[in-house]
Subunit: 170 residues, 2 copies
Amino acid sequence: MVEHADVLVVPGGFGTRRLMCDDEVLAWVRAVNDTTTWTTSVCTGSLLLGSAGLLTGLPATTHWAEMDTLAALGARPTKRRVVEHGKIVTSAGVSAGIDMALVLAARLAGDVVAQAIQLGIEYDPQPPFTAGSPERAPAEVVELVRSVLKRPSEASPGRVETPRQTSATH
Amino acid sequence: MVEHADVLVVPGGFGTRRLMCDDEVLAWVRAVNDTTTWTTSVCTGSLLLGSAGLLTGLPATTHWAEMDTLAALGARPTKRRVVEHGKIVTSAGVSAGIDMALVLAARLAGDVVAQAIQLGIEYDPQPPFTAGSPERAPAEVVELVRSVLKRPSEASPGRVETPRQTSATH
């Protein structure tokens, strides 16, 4: 098992809901966090940082549909793509991980390297629609996504009814 | 082996250079293309479509650093993120695959579903730098990426000295 890391990136995905109550995983996140230079998350990975007690009172972000859960875990939900607070860097839903990764690359290796990565992946985004945030998407689209996102959680055997917060000093 | 497909997505990556001379792969691409509703590529996947003879005389795009190769394969390089021509849809480098996928989703399932996917992945991009295209990136960054991109090709045992074009009817 990895016991220390310079950078911890906690990814998102539906699997994170079940892990929010997995004491072994949360203890591991806390232990590795004690060794990191950067502790980061993408999308609902932020819910694991929150469940591990690492976001208490801190500004943080996650997938837009899970901001309430993030607040319930003690964080201060912040509507930005990437939220930096000390060594903790959280990012919004899924594709925000690209923006977070570029920010992180700049911190680790400097702006030129980060820009080279951006150019290497030709990250000059031109979405064909402007539906990337709940504020800009049509109401019917927001409703559709909310209904779809509920399903896996309901179907999951590990559905978290009431997110717990575990103290970081516990 | 898959012999027909509604949608063919040819991905990019350094591996595509070697496959440009793999007659079996190119014959497969041509055969499957005969069965598709949509034939698409991301990044240097376009070079495989070109090597298979499917882009001859057509507007198409690929990773910015490979536009000359695309021209050598008989296509008309077009500086857009996503280039549609009939059932052929090509996209620019790496991350342009996201934009292409949303365009494709709209064609396949309608604008509402495509917008829902965009919202689901919170694709409201905010790159921390404006270095995503060679036109906008600082010159030193463009040079750095060009030098890095050359390396794997030179090191590869399957390096393609002169890209071939294989006739689609061959």
